[in-house]
Symmetry: C2
Subunit: 339 residues, 2 copies
């Protein structure tokens, strides 16, 4: 581990200084909503989405002209502990499949007209096996967070975050266990299709990791460095940078919300610019979302990762923005309003 | 009322003869799904949607090349009973707004690339006030059902049904009360924004209607004729015709499912080709969907009608079809499968 604590201090400063939303823009959006040609409140959550977009983009008429899905991939030393039915080789192969347009996420991005960006965080060089050592040293963790910050700086006006990494539901569950406490079995699930024995292996691995790193898990960035994966570190950076750049964030499922949990642990208002795309079928996700005080848009029993839940939710969010911006008003449409 | 019972008999025959699904196509779709490059079941409900499309289109690779939203509009004599905060004039004005592209449904159709068709079922000539008389005579009801059957025959490969009609949440609630029993108050809600007094007026109107038509509400088509509206009759026709034409159906909210309830009352398998687009915020909709054994795709607190819930759900369904048809397989992508 490098001696310098500076990089983490810089990150702490960026997390602490995440700006508040633009309430004037949100208020203007609410005023506009009240004259649109529909009964008040009739679009339900879609109206809240429009206000949320306005608040975090800082625009009364929020724009979604370049919606982007960013997927971060990495490998995990913990796979040595038999925590996934798939070999680690699949991480790289799936990134190749994203590039070739053959994965689930490619089809959703095409259907919803979303840009897709895929980032390889040293796939093939797994992070440390958390049962016996930290996943990353501080330089690596800080560098990966910074990489995630840079990755989104390309003009996206809303970003969906997702990931690919064989073994990373174990990594995410370890982070939840460290941040939220409780028995590791409460946070593990079937991931890509683990059987009972493998689910037990996941919980055992996490218990050993918590033991190995005991006494060093009070600081969320230390939790990330010791138990996390690079894709989760990068998503932490993306969430923080998006806030500074006025880019609302759509979170994917069980692994992506582990990055959100790190941010929230550092700043209780740190997720106000984030929407959860969906409830994952991973059993602990409901509990995680409750802790994060996020209510997902969708609940379709999905558990694929790749940003698929975020990308589907983005379709709903795009429609919400279109309605807010382009609907007629009672006056412009010449429709009689209620008394 | 015309003496002839023939038109209703023809409709009964069409409902009774609704064909079964194509299980071979659904089985082929399941076989294909099992080799797509993802863990088994990881797309959750989206996989079921692909099988459902295959079953009801009769194609292992279901096609969504012309998704269409059909909205049916009509006016209701029951508005004389003070059941809506909006005047009846709004029905026609909203159809004009659909034509001008200014409504919520226009924006969703643009965002999701859906065709939109709007049908005026004699707006301005309200159906009979159900508190004192039948909404329609048999010729009118049968003719309107037939109109709905014709309305969808234009090459759509999946259709979303919706409606517009001031007063029609009262009409839908009356149908539910007649079909499912129970106190009228159990089936009414705030519709476009009724206050407590108006909600009571809705329940009172339904109680009087049930009294007026007592003894004639065993036959679902009589329920439709006496208590229904033209938009609901047309949607009954659309649901039945779609089944015969191998067109899967996406239902909108509280009013649209009243048409579905009539069909189900006539044929317990009559909704197998239908998906509920969303849970409406109208309080009784959960109970209705339970009776219809439909689990909606979305739950976003919407209560607008216009087909908006169906059109948003169509975005999800389009993505499900795209994934099923266009994802690579483990073999074609060169991805290692689990042992």
């Amino acid at each position: 581990m490098p001696a310098s604590g500076l990089p983490f201090d810089d990150i702490r400063a960026l997390v602490a200084s995440m700006p508040a939303g633009n309430e004037a823009a949100a208020g203007e959006a609410q005023a506009r909503d009240s004259v649109l040609v529909k009964p008040p409140g009739a679009l339900g959550r879609l109206e809240d989405i429009a206000f949320w977009l306005a608040r975090w983009q800082g625009k009364a008429k929020p724009q979604i002209t370049k919606p982007t899905i960013a997927i971060f991939g990495s490998d995990h030393g913990v796979t040595k502990q038999g925590v996934s039915p798939y070999p680690s080789s699949v991480t790289r192969q799936m990134l190749d499949t994203f590039a070739a347009g053959g994965a689930a996420i490619n089809q959703i991005c095409l259907a919803n007209n979303l840009a897709l960006k895929v980032f390889d965080l040293g796939i093939g060089s797994p992070s440390g096996d958390i049962t016996i050592e930290p996943a990353m040293d501080e330089r690596e963790a800080a560098g990966t967070i910074a990489f995630g910050m840079e990755a989104i700086a390309d003009g996206a006006d809303i970003i969906g975050l997702g990931e690919m990494g064989i073994g990373n539901t174990t990594i995410a569950a370890a982070i939840y266990a460290a941040l939220f406490g409780g028995d590791p079995t409460a946070w593990v699930g079937r991931g890509t299709g683990a059987d009972d024995a493998m689910v037990k292996a996941k919980a055992d691995a996490i218990a050993r990791a918590l033991d190995t790193h005991a006494g060093h898990l009070k600081d969320p960035l230390e939790v990330l460095r010791r138990l996390g994966g690079r894709e989760i570190a990068a998503m932490v950076g993306a969430i923080v940078a998006a806030r500074h750049q006025k880019i609302p964030v759509v979170l994917d499922g069980f692994v992506t919300t582990a990055a959100a949990a790190i941010v929230q642990a550092m700043n209780p208002r740190g997720l106000d610019h984030c929407i959860a795309g969906h409830f994952s079928a991973e059993q602990a996700h409901h509990k995680v979302l409750e802790r994060l005080r996020l209510t997902p848009l969708l609940s379709l029993g999905m558990r694929l990762g790749e940003g698929t839940g975020a990308a589907l939710a983005m379709g709903i969010i795009k429609a919400a923005a279109a309605m807010h911006n382009d609907m007629a008003t009672f006056t412009s449409a010449g429709v009689d309003n209620r008394d």
